[in-house]
């Protein structure tokens, strides 16, 4: 192949939110090329995609499209330059017809009336390009399957003459035939000279579809390979990099009895026979890629979501947990992933938030609240967890992320839960507060509580956990102790379920 002018040329792209997310990132894309982007959670892939599609502004660096400077300040500007992103969550409006979805922001009209014959003619042409010629333009989008909806979205992108398409985990919700159809379309787009940036965890698909593969780590470009020259294990090694400083192996492992045992936890399509146990005084980490079933595991144990099967055993006794009240009775607390929407009553006071799970304990048998007891409890836990606040009447909305998280934790400590499930306990929390939370987790384990911690940050898990389980596509693929874990091995296990997606689909 001669060396055609690059469609996209990115040099020295820089972006940071509190911490650097992109550091001197270089990238190039040729017309008609599929360039895959791989990396662990937080490597900077999504940020790069957002910058390219005009959703985020970079702090520095330059981008050029076909030699012309490119710096989109909005999604609209990016689309005008021919750059479009297909989001992981589809952008299709189910109640509108296929035609209306495709041309939503440029409906052909006369004096405000939609010219349906023009619209439907253009739609038929657009659908034909993605192999959906059999779909009528007036079909409601909700009548189509996920895969077809995605193709409709791609048809819309093509109709707007996109030259560069970013696909973020496009196959996550697709069935095998739909994936084949998507790939056929990608090939057709390639032949028309459209450049495609393909972001995915699935190594087998990347190897099939990509021409080049770029590995990202900590916001940098680590390496770019020709797809045929590289094997998955090498990519994974590059994603992880060198093993960084790790914690000294624990002096003594926890020796308590089993606090929580989970057997064959199953939830349609999300969890497949997940089994594990946590001892008193132990911190068990759960690692895995986003969407691997980590959050679902915690929520199923806690009874927040219905499960299809599996047993929960608390302190050696079978526990029936169908809802969070049951979990509470069994002494299980959950610090949810999204603390603002699932954890806290933001406009309410620290006091109300702290005693939310112990309301009956702060009331007499006639339902009368004992406000001085509540104040005492709140003060006690705010002092113990060092919540920085002006008073216990301060609304939690005004607290920093770290202090908000402490309030959620205080709620479960007030309830004296023996088993605590933490979902991303330090997300969105600054480094200093992170440290405090880590210390707090260790203290809790020291009080012989059993902790399960889910985190996207491997280093965080390695810093606080006694043991790490790895989930991949809803299955446990590995278990590590401080003496056996390395970032590379954990990452390898996290990708294990995605290496050959076809085979695992056939076995389910």
């Amino acid at each position: 192949m001669e060396n055609p002018a690059p469609l996209l040329q990115v040099k020295g792209l820089v972006k940071s939110y509190n911490v650097p997310v992109l550091v001197d990132f270089d990238f190039s894309l040729r017309p008609g090329e599929v360039h895959a982007l791989v990396g662990s959670n937080g490597a900077g892939k999504s940020t790069f995609a957002r910058i390219l599609s005009g959703l985020t502004l970079p702090d520095g660096g330059s981008m050029q499209i076909l030699g012309r400077p490119y710096s989109p300040r909005s999604k609209r500007e990016a689309e005008d330059a021919g750059v479009t992103m297909v989001l992981q969550e589809l952008n299709v409006i189910g109640t509108l017809s296929v035609a209306e979805n495709i041309f939503l922001n440029c409906l052909p009209r006369t004096a405000g009336f939609i010219r349906y014959h023009v619209l439907h003619e253009a739609t038929r042409r657009a659908l034909d390009r993605v192999g959906l010629a059999h779909v009528s333009p007036s079909t409601p989008a909700s009548a189509l399957g996920m895969g077809q909806q995605q193709l409709v979205e791609i048809a819309g992108i093509l109709a707007r003459n996109s030259r560069l398409i970013i696909l973020d985990e496009p196959t996550a919700a697709l069935t095998d035939p739909e994936i084949e159809q998507l790939f056929a379309n990608i090939r057709r787009l390639q032949s028309e000279g459209v450049g495609i940036i393909y972001i995915s965890h699935r190594m087998d698909e990347i190897q099939r579809i990509a021409d080049r593969i770029t590995v990202m780590r900590d916001g940098r470009m680590v390496a770019t390979h020709t797809a045929t020259d590289v094997i998955p294990s090498q990519l994974i090694r590059e994603m992880v990099g060198h093993d960084l400083t790790e914690r000294n192996p624990l002096d003594a492992g926890p020796t308590g009895g089993w606090a929580l045992q989970v057997e064959n936890l199953t939830s349609a399509d999300v969890l497949h026979q997940v089994s594990f146990g946590v001892r008193h005084g132990e911190i068990l980490g759960i690692a895995g890629l986003i969407g691997s079933g980590r959050t679902e595991t915690l929520r199923a144990i806690f009874g927040a979501d219905a499960k299809d099967g599996g047993e929960i055993i608390v302190n050696g006794q079978q526990a029936t947990i169908n809802n969070p009240q049951d979990a509470l009775r069994a002494g299980i607390g959950l610090v949810p992933e999204d603390r603002k929407h699932q954890g806290l009553l933001l406009p309410q006071s620290i006091l109300i938030n702290t005693t939310l799970s112990t309301i009956p304990g702060h009331a007499n048998r006639f339902g009368w609240m004992d406000s001085s007891a509540e104040a005492a409890t709140t003060k006690d836990f705010c002092d113990r967890l060092e919540v920085r606040c002006s008073s216990s009447g301060q609304p939690v909305r005004e607290l920093s992320g770290g202090n908000q998280q402490k309030v959620v934790i205080a709620r479960w400590l007030a309830r004296d839960c023996g088993i605590l499930l933490f979902d991303e306990p330090t997300r969105g929390i600054d480094a200093a507060a992170k440290d405090t939370i880590h210390q707090l987790l260790r203290d809790l384990a020291g009080q012989s509580k059993a902790l399960v911690v889910v985190s996207s940050e491997l280093l965080e898990l390695m810093a606080v956990c006694d043991r790490i389980l790895v989930l991949s596509r809803g299955r446990i693929t590995a278990e590590f102790t401080p003496s056996t874990w390395t970032q590379e091995k954990v990452t390898q296990a996290a990708f294990a379920g995605y290496l050959d997606t076809r085979e695992s689909k056939q076995t389910t």
């Binding site: 509470l328 929407h341 009553l345 309410q348 109300i352 309301i359 002006s390 301060q394 005004e398």
Partner: protein, 326 residues
């Protein structure tokens, strides 16, 4: 939780608005500030006050009940039928009316909670159903009852206010105490703020949600009894449009339609303001259409004022937080 001085300042502000209205109408009309006006005010208030009290609790959990006026009409009608046609004793008729209200409210709650239908829709249906039943039960006729029910709305000699007014005050005080001091009240505020967080804190939000609609149904029944006793007759058209006055009184009192924030005492001030406005406008000879225009302006104005004041508070707090937490 709001601190006591702040709460008192809020009450004082609403009292000020009410006194301002009284003074204004007093200046506009020679005959306004007389005993007759006040006794007619005191007579009108009880049924609206008890309904608005229940409505406050429903709005606090983020719900709404449009059926209160119809349910009030139905309960009054049933009371009339029980007394006039069935010749039942007065206390039985009253209990029957309250019971019907409780059933209607419970149905609202159960259906919206278990079928996950917005309360707006369920109670819209109940609005039609209850009004239809009111007409069916009375054959669309007003029934004259007279002396058996009238004492409840007649001023107690020497005290100047009626038993109905005293009962309404009692309901308001009990509801405010329940809201700020009991487990039930805490559940309501928490559910209205963030129901998912409440569920994940291990609290089942359903019982409290149903109870609050049931309570409003019961209070609508009580409102029906008050209304019937005031007129001395049962009227199937009673309470028409009452849901709007009740919601207006509640939002004038600063309760958020989004849930999570509200006060029954301030709702009572809202009731006073609405009732005074109506009485005053009638006194100065405003026509019915003019009354409605002015009432509408006052409602929207009051809510704008409250939103503005609330934002101001939130901002003030934030800058305070920054100062104490550099």
């Amino acid at each position: 939780m709001t601190s006591t001085p702040k709460k008192l300042a809020e009450y004082a502000a609403m009292l000020g608005i009410w006194v301002g209205l009284l003074v204004m109408f007093g200046l506009l009309s020679q005959n306004f500030l007389t005993g007759a006006t006040f006794s007619s005010l005191a007579n009108r208030i009880p049924s609206l006050a008890v309904v608005a009290t229940g409505m406050t609790l429903v709005l606090i959990i983020g719900g709404i009940d449009l059926s209160v006026g119809s349910v009030l009409g139905l309960c009054g009608s049933v009371m009339g039928v029980a007394l006039v046609n069935a010749h039942l004793p007065c206390w039985v008729a009253t209990l029957l009316a309250l019971g019907i209200g409780l059933v209607a409210g419970t149905l609202n709650g159960v259906i919206s909670v278990f079928f996950r239908i917005p309360s707006f829709i369920v109670t819209l249906g109940m609005l039609e159903i209850a009004r239809g039943l009111a007409y069916l039960s009375t054959n669309s006729q007003t029934k004259y009852i007279g002396s058996p029910v009238e004492p409840m709305s007649a001023p107690i000699p020497g005290l100047g206010i009626s038993p109905a007014f005293l009962m309404a005050l009692f309901v308001i005080i009990c509801s405010q105490v329940a809201l700020s001091r009991t487990v039930f009240g805490r559940h309501l505020v928490a559910i209205g703020t963030n129901e998912e967080a409440v569920r994940l804190a291990g609290i089942n939000p359903k019982p409290a949600k149903i109870a609050v609609f049931a309570l409003l149904g019961l209070l609508s029944g009580l409102g029906g009894v008050f209304h019937t006793s005031r007129l001395g007759s049962s009227d199937p058209n009673a309470g028409m449009g009452l849901e709007l006055s009740a919601i207006a009184a509640v939002v004038i009192g600063g309760t958020s339609l989004m849930g999570g924030r509200g006060s029954v005492v301030r709702t009572f001030f809202g009731v006073l303001i609405i009732a005074t406005l109506e009485a005053g406008l009638a006194q100065v000879g405003a026509s019915e259409p003019t009354k409605r225009v002015i009432t509408g302006i006052v409602i929207v104005g009051a809510v704008i004022l409250d939103a503005w004041r609330h934002n101001l508070n939130a901002r003030g707090f934030r800058s305070l937080g920054k100062r104490t937490n550099p």
